[in-house]
């Protein structure tokens, strides 16, 4: 997700090609080609420009709807709806061939991961293992991060593992079973926290953790654009 205004010009993007199975976009205003994964202009008049990231989440629709009841959702284009993907599209895609492969750390080309590029580092978290553990405390670069699996057991969000305004390192644990609207508790204050990373009860009520952008991706694609990535658990 990117903003599409560059230097005062509003750009209109089209699908224009593929680069090792990550697609290339072309804007009709300048004819520049852009790489989808990183929003970088790779050829044409704007070569070298970087689109600004718009933070996004990959969530189950029910989870999103409960958080954003006032939100709007893109309708199917009915003419093409019969060709749309099934719910398990990303799992089905695992059987598709790849053209590049990085046989490292025991990773298979189409292993799904959550990739984080932040704090001067890149780190990949194998998706299935995150779902299994439900709460992951780790570091990206030197920065402590928290990966939280939602109540739907499929959606994952990442936060900086620091409470704004609190000096000590927080110690979050998962509520079992989770309460409606609360997933975590921090042991220092006993405040309860929801999937949006905000305290909903206790001393810290109203305080929110800082979000960290993560990309759900296949190993071959992530590794291609993040050659120095490390992998959690490997």
């Amino acid at each position: 997700m990117w903003t599409r205004e560059v230097d005062g010009t509003r750009l209109t993007f089209h699908l224009a090609g593929i680069n090792n199975q990550n697609f290339i976009m072309r804007d009709e205003e300048t004819g520049t080609y852009w790489q989808q994964i990183n929003g970088l202009a790779i050829s044409g008049p704007l070569k070298g420009w970087q689109l600004t990231l718009v933070p996004s989440d990959e969530l189950n629709f029910a989870t999103w709807r409960s958080e954003q009841p006032q939100g709007t959702v893109l309708n199917d284009i009915s003419k093409y709806a019969t060709e749309y993907a099934r719910k398990d599209w990303d799992v089905r895609m695992k059987r598709e061939p790849v053209v590049i492969s990085f046989a490292e750390h025991g990773m298979k080309a189409r292993d799904l991961l959550l990739g984080i590029r932040a704090f001067g580092a890149s780190r990949a978290f194998p998706y299935d293992e995150v779902i299994k553990q439900k709460l992951v405390k780790d570091h990206v670069g030197a920065e402590p991060v928290l990966l939280v699996v939602g109540e739907d057991n499929q959606s994952v969000r990442v936060f900086r593992d620091r409470i704004p305004g609190v000096d000590t390192t927080p110690d979050f644990y998962r509520l079992t079973p989770p309460k409606p609207g609360a997933l975590l508790m921090d042991s220092a204050t006993g405040s309860e926290w929801n999937f949006q990373g905000c305290a909903v009860s206790g001393k810290l009520q109203g305080v929110c953790l800082e979000r960290v952008q993560a990309l759900k991706d296949y190993w071959f694609d992530w590794r291609n654009y993040n050659p120095r990535t490390t992998i959690w658990g490997k």
Binding site: R4, L11, H14, E58, F61, P97
Partner: protein, 163 residues
């Protein structure tokens, strides 16, 4: 006269070759299920960028060469052969303007949105969600993995949603 004929034929062949390369090379390099090398991709994108202009110039030159050839060549079948060649160069100029990827994955021209509460989407469908200046929008992956791109405006900000 003979020299002129050869000149026109040579120009026709040159136009045909140039148009074929400009149309064919990017398609050859940038095609699915093929590894793209950095250098060949860079060349293919430059070729693709100038392809519409080059193929039109090539078609105009080919038509001019055909007209010249027509005047100096009396044999009917050779004239027809030259006309077919020039016609093919014109067809390539048209093909250069076709976005194969948008034929495969149709773009969204007129996006419509539903209120979250009224959407018929199943609860366990996955969406990509954004929140811009307080406005929340979700893009179902079932649609995004087909269309791949939507040029949108959320929270008074022009964004491009991609998947």
């Amino acid at each position: 006269m003979l020299r002129n004929r050869w000149l026109f034929v040579t120009i026709l062949f040159a136009c045909l070759a140039a148009s074929l390369v400009f149309v064919g090379y990017p398609i050859y390099v940038i095609r699915p299920f093929r590894a793209q090398g950095a250098r060949e991709l860079a060349v293919a994108l430059v070729v693709a960028r100038f392809r519409p202009m080059v193929t039109v110039i090539s078609a105009l030159v080919a038509l001019a060469a055909l007209a010249g050839y027509w005047r100096v060549q009396q044999r009917e079948w050779r004239r027809i052969l030259a006309a077919v060649g020039a016609g093919f160069v014109c067809v390539l100029a048209v093909l250069a303007r076709v976005n194969v990827y948008e034929l495969m994955f149709h773009p969204i021209d007129h996006a419509a949105f539903s209120a979250a509460a009224k959407s018929k989407l199943d609860g366990d469908e996955k969406v990509i969600a954004v929140l811009v200046n307080g406005e929340a929008r979700a893009y179902p992956i079932r649609a995004m993995s087909y269309h791949h791109i939507i040029n949108d405006e959320v929270g008074k900000t022009a964004i491009v949603a991609t998947y």
